[in-house]
Structures are given as C-alpha cells and as structure tokens.
C-alpha cells in the first residue's frame, strides 16, 4: 500500500486580532529534545520572550495548553511514523508560521541513517515483537510533508540563532541567518584552522555557519551539525580527505551523521559506499514516494 500525501499549500489561518500578543507552539517529532532544550536554555532571555510572545503550547516546559490556531509553531524532529505524517498536517493547518528547528526537522536527523539500510531487518533484529511497530522506511524532514516557512539548522540549534528567528518574527522582519561556511565564523573568531595547522579532518568548509565555529575553536574538526552551506563542494573536500589518508568508508561516515539525508551530504556519502558497485548510486534520483511509504503494512 502506498500512501500519497501531497505537500499542503500554505493554509489560510484566520488573522490574529490586532495588538494581541502572538502565540507560540512548540512541537516534537522524532528527536532527542535538544533543540527544545535550547529554547529553555535561553534563561536570560526567556522573561523578555514571554513578554513578547504567549507560549501557548510547549509540553516540555508547561502543562498549560492554549488552543490553536497558533501564530508561530516551532517544530522539532523528523517524520518517521504514519501517525506523524497526519500530525504534521494538522499542525500546519493550525499554524500561521511554521519554523523547523534542528537537523531532524530540517534534514531528517541522525535517524535518517535508516534511509541507507533496511528498516525491516533492523526491526527484526532489535525488537522481540516487531509486529507491534509501525514505522516508515525513511526518516524525512518536515518539508517533505508540509510547506515550511523557515528551516533553522543545527544539532542542536544555536540559541542566538533561535532568538534571532523569534525576534525577526516578532518584529516582522527577515531573520538574519547566514548560509556561508563555518570557515567564516572560524576566521572571524581568530581560531587556527585545524585542518591546515593540525591535519585534523574538518567539515567546516562544506558546512553552514551558525555554531560560531565551536568545535574548531576547541581544536576539533567540524562534524557538520548545521548541514551543507549554500555552495557545498562536498566532492572536493572528499578528495582532500582521501588524499590525507582517510579511508573511503570513513569519508562515507563523516558525511553520514546528523545531516546524512541532506541532499549534498547524502550524495557524497553514497559515492564512497564500499562494494563492487561503488558509483552505482551516484546521482540516484530522490525517491519522493518512499518518504511517505510505510516500511510494510502493519497489523493494527
């Protein structure tokens, strides 16, 4: 059975009463809650935020629930079950503005590693009663199912960027979220390049800024938490990593973490898959129908 779920158009949510405080809802899908925690970690700014926006639905923070529709919905997590496909549709209908927060909601997250494997096999190996599970063959970003107004990257999102997106919404302006590489932030903060000076593999050149070059500033290579930058030359970086002695399987793995299912990283990782048909999946067309396909029919 194939479920076809068209991407929903932007809903016509009734306009909010003038001068009323906008309402905020925070939703969770398949995720670790780290991005929601980033919002809670805005300790110094939370009171100011609460003075500007009404936190209407945020189960991680409060049991109090205000009914929708909501002016802003922050959505954490990826879509991994048939129920979640339905739920994100309802959330979209209730939300004037829908912002995804984090690598899961924006790119499918670490759980999108399932996209490269056989979920039926995983399930039979891991669970004593796999027949009770209802799951999809792929972990997909929210944008695969509904229209998204803004995707905030990161694993987790950066507190400063989250506040910038919320401030921008409150003040009715575009969020200033750069799409250039981590190297820009690394050089601006005066960090010494870990690749050039230490020989440490680093995804910074192909990864979008946002973290403030946190790992390189502590002499670690970038893990790519914020996904591909706007001009990601993943192949050229892979060539450099291979020339530096990294095994092809490790090049595959370095691209296959929190943003494994983002298109540039997915394609690059597949170029380095081990096996006789090494290049067979290069440029494989993205199977959109599979995003909404249940892994198999599940008895209810």
């Amino acid at each position: 059975m194939t479920t076809t779920l068209p991407v929903l158009p932007v809903p016509h949510v009734p306009a909010r009463a003038p001068h009323a405080m906008p309402t905020l809802a925070v939703w969770k899908f398949a995720s670790c809650d780290g991005c929601q925690l980033t919002l809670l970690n805005c300790e110094d700014e939370l009171m100011a935020l609460a003075g500007r926006i009404r936190i209407a639905y945020f189960p991680e923070a409060t049991r109090a629930v205000v009914d929708g529709p909501y002016d802003v919905s922050l959505v954490e997590g990826s879509v991994t079950t048939p129920e979640e496909i339905e739920r994100i549709g309802h959330i979209r209908e209730m939300s004037r503005t829908l912002v995804t927060i984090g690598a899961c909601a924006s790119a499918g997250g670490i759980q999108a590693l399932r996209n490269f494997g056989d979920v039926a096999e995983f399930r039979s190996v891991v669970y004593a009663h796999p027949e009770y599970l209802s799951t999809l063959a792929r972990s997909t970003p929210i944008s695969a199912h509904v229209s998204v107004d803004f995707e905030l990257r990161g694993c987790p999102v950066d507190k400063g960027q989250l506040l910038e997106v919320l401030s921008a919404y409150i003040q009715g302006r575009r969020p200033r979220i750069p799409t250039y590489s981590v190297c820009v932030e690394c050089k601006r903060r005066g960090a010494v390049c870990v690749t050039v000076a230490h020989g440490t593999p680093c995804l910074g050149p192909v990864t979008q800024a946002g973290c403030g070059a946190l790992c390189p500033a502590f002499a670690r290579g970038c893990y790519g938490c914020f996904g591909p930058q706007d001009t990601p030359n993943t192949a050229a970086l892979a060539d450099r990593l291979l020339a530096g002695g990294m095994a092809p399987v490790d090049v595959m793995r370095i691209y296959r973490t929190f943003n494994a299912a983002s298109e540039p990283f997915r394609r690059e990782s597949e170029r380095h898959e081990p096996g006789p048909d090494d290049d067979a999946r290069d440029d494989a067309p993205h199977d959109a129908a599979a995003d909404a396909r249940p892994e198999r029919e599940v008895p209810r």
Binding site: E45, A48, L49, G51, R52, L163, E164, L166, S167, I170, Q171, R176, P178, T179, Y180, S181, C183, V184, K187, R188, R189, G190, A191, V192, C193, T195, V196, A197, H198, C202, G204, P205, V206, A219, Q229, D230, T231, N233, A235, A236, L237, D239, R240
Partner: protein, 389 residues
Amino acid sequence: MDRRAQIIDVQGLQDLVEALLARGYTVVGPTVRDGAVVLGPISGVDDLPRGVHDRQDAALYRLETRDDDALFGYAAPVQGAKPVFFPADELLWRAHRSPDGFDVEDPDGERPGPVALIGARACDLTAVDIHDEVLMRRRYVDDHYARRRAGTFVVAVACGEPGGTCFCASVGTGPCPRTGYDLLLTELLEAEHHFLVEVGTSRGADVLADVPTTVATPSDVTAAGDVVARATERMGRTLETEGLRDLLYASAESPRWDDVASRCLACTSCTLVCPTCFCTSVGDVTDLTGDVAERHRVWDSCFSEQFSYIHGGALRSETRSRYRQWMTHKLGSWQDQFGMLGCVGCGRCITWCPAAIDITAEAAALRAAAPPPGPPAAPPVPVPTGVRP
C-alpha cells in the same frame, strides 16, 4: 635624529617593549597559540615565539622547533595586522529607545590606546599601507579604521625566514620593509643573539633613546644585509607580475576557472586570511524587546553566495565566477582601482586554503593558456567608485 644603525640585545628588545607599554601603547606581536604563530597582546620577549619555525605549503602549516633561540624565525603569522585595525566584527553604533525617540551611543569611546606592532613583516606593512589607501586616503574616510590606526607605532622586522608559500620578492614588497616603520629590526643569530636597529622616524628614535644601544659595526650591517639577501633567495613561490592585469582581463572566459572551481570549496578562507581583502557586510541586530539596536560591520567574502545577493538572486551563483572575481580583482582590477597590486605576496591564501589552491600556480596556468599578448586589454567591467568591488 641619529639615523645610524644601532645594536640591541634580547634584553634591549624587552626594554623596547616596556618603553612602549610605559608610553601607553597596546603592544601587539607574534605569539604561539594552538600550534601556530598568531598576533596578540604581548608584554615582553617571553611572549614571543622562541626557537620555532613554521613549515608552510599549500594547505599545510606546521610549527617546528629550531636549533636556536630565534624570536622571529618564522614567516607570516596566521593573520597579518588586519584584525588589529579592521576587526572581524566592528560595532558601528548602538541605539537605545527613549521616551521621545532613541539615543545613539558611539562605541568608539570604549577603545584602548594606540597600538604598537612588534615584529611586523614587509608584506604586512605593505598590506597596512594598502588598507590606509583604500580606507583613509580616498574621498570617504573610514572613521573607525582611522581611529584605530591613529598613532600606530611600528617595530618592523626584516624577514629572515620566508615560508614555503611566500613570494613577496616577486611582488616587490619584501623581504625587507622600505617604509612604514618607526624602528626596523634585523635579527642576527650568529655569534651573539642581537638585533640591528634602524630608525625610521623621529618618534622611533625617541623610543629607542630609552633602550641601551651600541652603534652597529660595519660587519653587523653586512650581516643584516646577508639576512635579507638569503631570504630573497629562499622564497617558496614566485609570481610573474609582468602584464598580470592584462593577462587576467584576457582570461575572463578561460576554462581554467572551471578547473579551479572543481577544487575550490568556496569556504572563504583565502579572503579572510588575506591582509588586503577588506570586504564587509553591515547588518543591524535588535534584542527581543526591540528597545536596543546595534549596527555591526563584519568581514564578508566574495566567495559567499550571499555576498553578491541583490533583489532577485545572487550575481555570482557559481564558484568559478567567485574565484575569477577574487583573483581578477586582487591581481588585475585592483591596479586600475587603487594604482597598486592587491597582493603582497604573504602566501596566506595558499597556506590556509584547505583545498591547497595556489594563486601563483593559477596565475601561471592562465599565463600558459593565454593567447599571445596583443594591445592592452580594457577592463571587462568598469569599476565605479563607491561600489564595493
């Protein structure tokens, strides 16, 4: 003013730093951090990189130990003086909402006293001069830059250890600075560890008067000349500058741009370590309440897609056009715009490119592929004044 060369020893260098600190300068010099020579505030010779050498090549930098106690035995630090006078993130102003409007606060009042640069190399002094030309000597003066530059004291060092990516001798900027310093040191390691000091300005002579010196002997002067001569012969790279501008204009449609784009990561590192690149973007930030707004000027780069974004999209959506823009400006149209090369031969764009792209090799490849020289080419695109390059 006594213009004769003097000799100071290592203690004399310490005395020199202390004399500058006593005069209220913020003393900035080379120091070792995170496995590299970087510029930072220093308070004496103990903060300088002692007995270290840097091995530099394309996408490679390694700090190694020397078998002597040289204090300037390395080539270009990770950054030149750019972050000192042209910070990566400059607060231009801050405004607070008030009952009857808003008040603007000038952040310049928060700045420390003038800077004394210790150990500046010829390449970096030329780069400072280029920034002075671009930011201070033209019609519109950049006040923030001018205020940071005001009263700068320069203790230059004749470079005795060019790196594997250096080519200042090709572009005529080094290895020994000819101008732009108050005092010029040449480190002499044979026999005793001491420094030949040449005075560039009366201010330099005034500071040097606080330091015990002896008059240099002819053999000291000869030894200093040898240091520079040896350095000139040991440049790791060369760049043929003859007809460079016309070569780049004639190469606007060269297939080489596709070749370099296949390797270029568009990461911006070359531009951000370049001591002459000055492109920035200006943006406003507000707090959540909307009661405080700040305007920041941050380093930007022509390698970023957003940099060329205007209504409707980015002008340079492909990496080939970004690399062509950067290199053509640096080596070609910079000459039309400012009457000088935009490259000082420090080699940083080669060393710190994670993809090992070498501007001297790219220039040589364009030259090898170029048609035989004809009449001088016109710039492909006019560069209007007041428009960022």
